[in-house]
Amino acid sequence: MIQDRKGQHMKKRILKIGALLLSAVVTLTAFMPMTAYATDTDYSYTYNYDYWGDVQDTPDLYTVCRVFTSSDLGLEVGMKNPAGLYVYGDLVYICDSGNNRIIEAKRTATESLEVVRIIDSFKGNVDVTTFNNPTDIAISEEGNFFIADQGNARVLKLDKDFNYLMQFDKPVDNTLDPALEFLPNKIVIDPAERVYCIASGINKGLIKYENDGVFSGFVGATPVSYDWMDYIWKKFSTQEQRALLASFVPTEYDNIYIDHEGFIYAVTSAISEDDLREDKGNPVRKLNLMGNDILVRNGNYTIIGDLYFGAGGGYEGPSMFSDITVMENDIYVCLDRNRGRLFGYDDQGNLVFAFGGNGNMDGYFRRPVAIEHMGHDLMVLDTLDSAITLFITTEFGELIYDAIEQFDDGNYEQSGASWERVKQLDGNYDLAYIGIGRALLRQERYKEAMEYFELKYDDENYSKAFKQYRKEWVEENIGIIVAVILAVFLIPMIIGKIKSIKREIDTADIFK
């Protein structure tokens, strides 16, 4: 086991040395002919988009604390295709799907994760008391476990000692093909222990079960819409052509998360590049009880991850979100399995950070499938590497979170001061200017707030500040305004009157 761990470390070290050597060679060759080449270090790990959509490098908000591989966790049998991750207090649950087991680990210190127990079976009066390809796990407030046992076509409900309580089977619904195999993939539990489930091959939305196990309908399906051009085109095409056309079906969700307020965040990657460019399909959605999308999209750009999806350097195609997690300060982090990146957005839909990439180094991913947060820390599960990457916030990241949380708590002056610090650390961070402006706005310092909003072209907030400023100005100068308006009307009238009197005098008969 120790051997194994060493081996892993060696591997990483060899990679690091290799990277160092490579960069040394590149810099040497770069210096010799006195021309500069673009190296890896030319752009930073973390970035953001400014108002114009240009990439702006920012200091890191997150840094890799540690990467936990199977050997780091001390597992005798290495993880195989792990698919699900769940954080409950300081406990971390990993669905080791390939080995049909669930690993419970405890975070004992900032950078240590210790395996508590390995669950591969449960007690209870059912035929099969083992798991078959468990893909997701969730824990209710009462401490009951819900496990998507995909291979056994069921969602299990177990108590905290892993005794069988009940199971949720394939929904009984006329619209479902009876031959369709039920493959529960991802689950979330709401505070009343209702189960929302994504199953492969079912695109009618999330499957919703009441807490007594009764299927109560689908929620959150995208309304299918197509324009009249498509309709006419379809009218004139043959059967074969029609089959080849893109079919108008609702999108299937890839993953879900239920936030601390009980709203479900869902992500989907089944949106075409054209639709993403034209801001049509929304890859990230926040569903209310009715299943309507209520995600706030007030940012300068749409919530699609990377804005540019050019190919090159190991990247191709748009961001495809495989998971999402929502922190207590309403910042949600989307995990991009295609470009290996993490995108954090605030409650207004502004991009807070973007970092990561495809690769083998720490902080880069090969196929990330699940993300969870523990406080402000982030954990990402990579299924190909069978490893968990633990990110912790840097001073810069902590400052930004402080500023956002202080604002939410109503401490506007403190929030303004925190944003001011952020601005000092990174003058290209647009949200800092808007944050200072919003803090000033709350402190009724409208003129200063306007200046900050104007710098970053935030027209909505600028208008709010300007409206108040204008009101104040009018109230202060009402005397002058009335005087000016009166003057505008009275002076021409008086002049006209004087002229007419003069004319009368000039043309009067008595002076002739």
């Binding site: 114009w52 104007e454 072209y457 027209d459 909505e460 204008r470």
Partner: protein, 219 residues
């Protein structure tokens, strides 16, 4: 020429003809008839209106509030392109309209078409100059006024130009509309010919350039 500039009457005439533009704005049919038939318009005033239009086209980029229109990315701005966006269509319109109407009993001469078109553009600076200033005192809720009024300025100017053409050519309404559409079509034809011309020229030049290069390589 210099002597004319020294006379006071020249300036009085210029000022009167410029003020006459406002009369044309409010009384298009009567105004544009008098513009040429009573010689109440001057080229100086027409040029002034054109320059004012060009000025506001450029200045509104800088002085319109970012609340009502998207801010300008200055790196992408080419001032000559902005000037050309007015001057090029104007030149095409004037030439196209004159070339057509002169064949079909149009009474206006080339200069008169130019003058009347410039007078017709007057609503644009008249509305846009105050609107640009006012845009700095509005919020996003009131931004709609800006959009509506600036669209109105363009529509007003377009209507005036059409009315002006009818008056200077002494056309009936139906004939005027027909020739407005025909003039627009003539503009398209001219654009096509110009593109053809320039692409032919550039190909021809490229041919001789490559010929010389080839020769230089051989020598």
């Amino acid at each position: 020429m210099i002597a004319a500039l020294k006379r006071k009457e020249t300036y009085q005439k210029y000022w009167k003809s410029l003020k006459f533009g406002f009369y044309c704005m409010t009384h298009p049919l009567d105004g544009f008839w008098d513009l040429t038939h009573e010689k109440r318009g001057t080229y100086a005033a027409a040029n002034t209106i054109l320059i004012a239009t060009l000025m506001i086209r450029v200045l509104k980029l800088k002085y319109t509030s970012f609340v009502v229109v998207a801010p300008v990315y200055w790196e992408d701005i080419n001032i000559f392109m902005i000037l050309a966006s007015v001057l090029f269509p104007l030149a095409l319109w004037v030439v196209g309209n004159w070339a057509l109407t002169t064949l079909f009993d149009g009474k206006g001469r080339l200069g008169q078409v130019y003058m009347a078109t410039c007078y017709g553009m007057l609503p644009y600076p008249v509305i846009m100059i105050p609107l640009t200033i006012i845009s700095n005192f509005v919020t996003t809720d009131e931004a709609e006024f800006y959009t509506t009024l600036s669209a109105l300025a363009l529509a007003y100017a377009a209507l005036l130009i059409v009315a002006a053409m009818g008056q200077i050519h002494e056309y009936s309404l139906a004939k005027n509309i027909l020739f407005t559409i025909a003039s627009l079509f003539a503009m398209l034809v001219m654009i096509f010919l110009l593109m053809l011309f320039f692409s032919m020229i550039s190909q021809g030049v490229a041919y001789f350039v490559s010929l010389v290069k080839e020769l230089l390589f051989r020598i």
